[in-house]
């Protein structure tokens, strides 16, 4: 409780502090909105008048709870309406909202509480009941989110419904010491605990101004955004943007494969102007929604916006072709609120395969020593400008690692093209060194996504005893299609150099994804999936087939590197290792020097095993 609200009632102090400028615009929009629809949700329609009334009521309720300016308030719920109203109210009342995953399990919820140390928690009943940490939390600061108007047995505890129905004071309180921090956003950390990105009001206003410049957002916007609200892609680019510009946000039909045609049918009905999504969702919409290909052809619709993950050239091209509508690709991270680089909507920057150009920020590509690289060279993408976060909450060490001289080090490798646009190359943390060669798995993923009968592919590195790391591809066939590791290896040999060809191919039914649609790399590289991979049988031909990525039927004792697909210098080393591993033998240097065919290998295995 760092700062106290000042009594008595009076009008809000006139000042240039970002918080006041932020609130001033929001109040103006709220007061002017009247019966205009602000949000169309699965819980019902919320007008601007509804929103203003509830936000005023909650402002009074927060005072009654004794909350002070800058206090952190955690929200964990599956109820979109509660999340949106609470989030916007907390922001406007000078408190610091931090939205967690409403589907978090007990320990995940507890970890989030450890990181953000909230003064008050708004959460669904089941989340409270599954938490151990919350038991030590004062009951008066545990506010249950429910939809009925149940009066709790004890006056020590409240529900959100009660708070929303608290009669508002006719005049709002004066805030003398405005908060600097607007909100915290959870992002995945390198340790088991998540990190909380600390965003200021200056950051939020800068991002919203960038949206105006880059996308041309105005009061006519009707945003279809079905992304989860505990991510910036959902909450910032949805309700906050709608409120800031005086438009509306639409999320009345929850996203699922079964609902795709209903969602697409609602676009012309609701006069949607922008569909805000992520590549994983767009991929499903494009595949399942082809029967509704004209959904975006109404006079109001402007463009599809994809962000938060790599938009592959294949998906980008396919989506534009299927729906005959521009797809804009935005690049950004929670550390810069949402988006910093934009490919589109103008044709000059909407170049497929690029990240476009920066808007409202300065971008540099730096080498390992922090020096700018020449045009066309690969380096780490850095972003500076007013949207760059204050830091990671209560974590100076991790903040110092990514914020240097006012620049945010994204951890992503990129290059600048001749026409000044930026291209994504790979992620620093996913780049691997295999047998001395640096490989960006994303570039291999991009090639594999072009393989016929592949629905999705993702390539990543896993630890390897001798190579340090090895490249693994996880592949999902298109529905009704079948692919084998040998098919994938053959395709790679035609389209990739030997060193960029994955050593191992894992054929899966689906890629594991987070709530926001990002592929869960930890899950992919888990030992469970490794066990499911096709491991070779205990004979030289089977081992060789596994190492070279070919069918065993194509191999014989006469097979040599010079008449066998996939047998290159890297695969040769893999063959030696696998033979030694499978037969529990150690080949001598002399034998190694003599292996020129599979027949030689068979002979030496026989000698060693008797």
């Amino acid at each position: 409780m760092e700062k106290r609200r000042e009594m008595p009632n009076s009008i809000q102090a006139a000042t240039d502090a970002p918080f006041f400028n932020f609130c001033s615009r929001i109040d103006r929009i709220l007061n002017a909105g009247g019966d205009q629809v602000f949000a169309e949700l699965s819980e019902g329609i919320v007008t601007y008048a509804d929103l203003l009334r509830e936000m005023n009521n909650l402002d009074t309720a927060f005072q009654n709870l004794g909350l002070s300016i800058g206090d952190r308030a955690a929200i964990f719920s599956k109820n979109d309406r509660a999340i949106i109203v609470l989030f916007l109210s907390l922001l406007r009342s000078g408190l610091t909202p931090v939205i967690g995953d409403g589907y978090a399990k007990g320990s995940e919820f507890d970890d989030c509480l450890k990181v953000c140390q909230p003064t008050v928690i708004f959460a669904d009943a089941d989340i409270f009941s599954n938490s151990t940490a919350v038991k030590n939390f004062p009951s008066s600061r545990r506010i249950e989110i429910n939809t009925d108007l149940k009066i709790p047995a004890s006056r020590d505890s409240y529900t959100v419904s009660e708070l929303i129905n608290t009669p508002a004071n006719p005049e709002r309180q004066t805030i003398v010491n405005p908060p600097e921090t607007a909100m915290l956003v959870f992002t995945s950390g390198t340790t088991s605990l998540p990190k909380a990105v600390e965003l200021t009001h200056t950051n939020l206003v800068a991002q919203l101004d960038i949206f105006s410049d880059a996308y041309g957002f105005d009061s006519d916007i009707k945003l279809l955004n079905l992304l989860r609200l505990h991510h910036v892609d959902g909450i910032i680019r949805g309700p906050l943007t709608a409120l800031w510009f005086g438009g509306s946000v639409h999320r009345s039909i929850p996203f699922s494969v079964q609902n795709v045609s209903k969602i697409l049918a609602s676009i012309p009905e609701q006069k949607i102007t922008h569909f805000i999504t992520v590549p994983a969702v767009l991929s499903i919409v494009e595949r399942v929604g082809r029967a509704n290909a004209d959904a975006f052809q109404g006079p109001n619709f402007k463009f599809i916006l994809s962000s938060a993950d790599v938009l592959t050239e294949q998906l980008w091209t396919r989506s534009e072709k299927t729906f005959n509508v521009p797809v804009v690709n935005a690049y950004g991270l929670s550390e810069v609120v949402c988006d910093a680089l934009f490919a589109g909507p103008d044709d000059a920057t909407r170049q497929i395969g690029t990240l476009g150009r920066p808007v409202g920020c300065h971008v540099q590509i730096l080498d390992a020593k922090g020096l700018s690289v020449a045009q066309g060279e690969v380096g780490e993408l850095t972003i500076s400008g007013p949207a760059v976060m204050k830091g990671y909450f209560n974590d100076i060490v991790q903040t110092d690692q990514v914020l240097k001289n006012g620049k945010f080090l994204t951890g992503d490798y990129a290059r600048q093209t001749e026409n000044g646009l930026f291209q994504f190359v790979g992620r620093k943390k996913t780049a691997i060194v295999m047998a001395g060669v640096t490989i960006y798995p994303e570039s291999v993923t991009s090639v594999l996504n072009n393989m016929p009968d592949i629905d999705e592919a993702v390539v990543f590195g896993v630890a390897d005893v001798t190579r340090n790391q090895r490249l693994v591809a996880a592949l999902v066939p298109k529905p009704g299609k079948k692919i084998t590791p040998a098919d994938a290896a053959a395709f790679c040999r035609k389209n990739l150099s030997a060193e960029r060809t994955p050593i191992e191919f894992r054929i899966l039914d689906a890629l594991p994804r987070t709530a926001s649609g990002k592929v869960q790399m930890n899950e992919l590289s888990s030992s469970e999936l490794e066990k499911k991979a096709d491991l070779p049988g205990k004979d030289v031909l089977s081992i060789a087939a596994f190492c070279f990525g070919v069918s065993k039927e194509h191999l014989s004792s006469d097979s040599t590197p010079f008449n066998t697909e996939g047998w290159d210098s890297l695969a040769h080393m893999t063959l030696i290792e696998e033979i030694e591993l499978q037969f529990e033998i150690m080949l001598s240097a002399s034998q190694i020097a003599q292996i020129a065919s599979l027949g030689d290998a068979m002979k030496f295995v026989e000698e060693a095993t008797g």
Binding site: D568, H572, G599
Partner: protein, 281 residues
């Protein structure tokens, strides 16, 4: 794959064809000729391709063999194998030293003329002072980098058995190779660091140089150092890619093989009188 002669021969067949002529590849650090795969696959219908490997008795005695001794054995086995003439010898990177010394032995001791193809092998003086005079700035930079990389070993005497890094030689990380390979690599590395090339007055060579190597790799030496040791014509051809990608990248390897194929068609004819032609292909 069949041995050309008996089990102790170092020469083995990679591909056979009805056309005349032989193209012989020499082993790299790992003791194999896998680097030659894209070349062999493309030229297998035009020329007989052979590989050279370390025979069993050589591996047993590898600690005592020098690079020149090893090349003498290779030359002897090639001479005894009666390969279809004309004979072309070829080596990439480290294997280029074997190719050079074997061609020299074939000429000197067996009276066999062979054409020498060197794929991006640089040859430099062992003397620090000679190297300093030749490229003062680059040598100083190299020396500083070497000290930074090896101060544990030089000052604290903490030797990492997985790292091979003699002054003036490339750094080699054995941890990236299977254990069974390491003995061969260590001995090949020793051969390289102890190797003092002999001058070859009647020699000639065609050097294919990776066009995208940076200046530090080549030490600004346009002919990769070969004119100092080969007194006959040294013809230079630039090929696309850098040292590793020139053969690993399928597109670059295709260009290299096409150039090599054209050069092999000139077999027996004069390829030019220029002592050193840096204009590339």
């Amino acid at each position: 794959m069949t041995n050309q002669s008996n089990n102790s021969s170092t020469v083995f067949t990679l591909s056979k064809c009805s056309a005349g002529g032989s193209l012989v590849f020499f082993p790299d650090f790992g003791g194999n000729v896998l680097y030659a795969k894209p070349i062999v696959q493309k030229l297998s219908k035009d020329i007989n391709c052979y590989g050279v490997r370390l025979a069993h008795d050589m591996v047993e005695n590898l600690d005592n063999l020098s690079l020149i001794d090893t090349a003498a054995r290779f030359a002897k086995d090639i001479a005894e194998a009666n390969l279809p003439e004309p004979i072309n010898v070829c080596g990439f990177s480290f294997a280029g030293y074997f190719a050079f010394e074997t061609a020299h032995w074939l000429s000197k001791s067996h009276g066999i003329f062979s054409r020498l193809f060197i794929l991006d092998t640089i040859i430099r003086s062992k003397s620090f002072y000679a190297r300093l005079v030749q490229s003062p700035l680059l040598e100083m930079l190299y020396a500083v980098r070497f000290l930074c990389s090896n101060w544990h070993h030089l000052v604290l005497r903490k030797i990492d058995p997985m790292i091979l890094n003699e002054y003036g030689q490339i750094r080699f990380d054995l941890s990236q190779h299977p254990e069974s390979y390491r003995h061969i690599i260590r001995q090949m590395y020793r051969m390289m660091s102890e190797y003092n090339p002999r001058e070859w007055e009647a020699g000639a060579a065609i050097v294919l140089k990776a066009g995208q190597n940076n200046a530090a790799w080549n030490y600004g030496i346009g002919d990769l150092g070969w004119n100092r040791f080969i007194h006959g014509p040294v013809i230079m051809h630039n090929v696309p890619g850098d040292h590793l990608s020139m053969l690993r990248d399928p597109d670059y390897a295709n260009v290299l093989t096409t150039i090599l194929s054209e050069l092999l068609r000139l077999n027996g004819k004069e390829t030019g009188n220029a002592k050193f032609n840096s204009s590339g292909d």
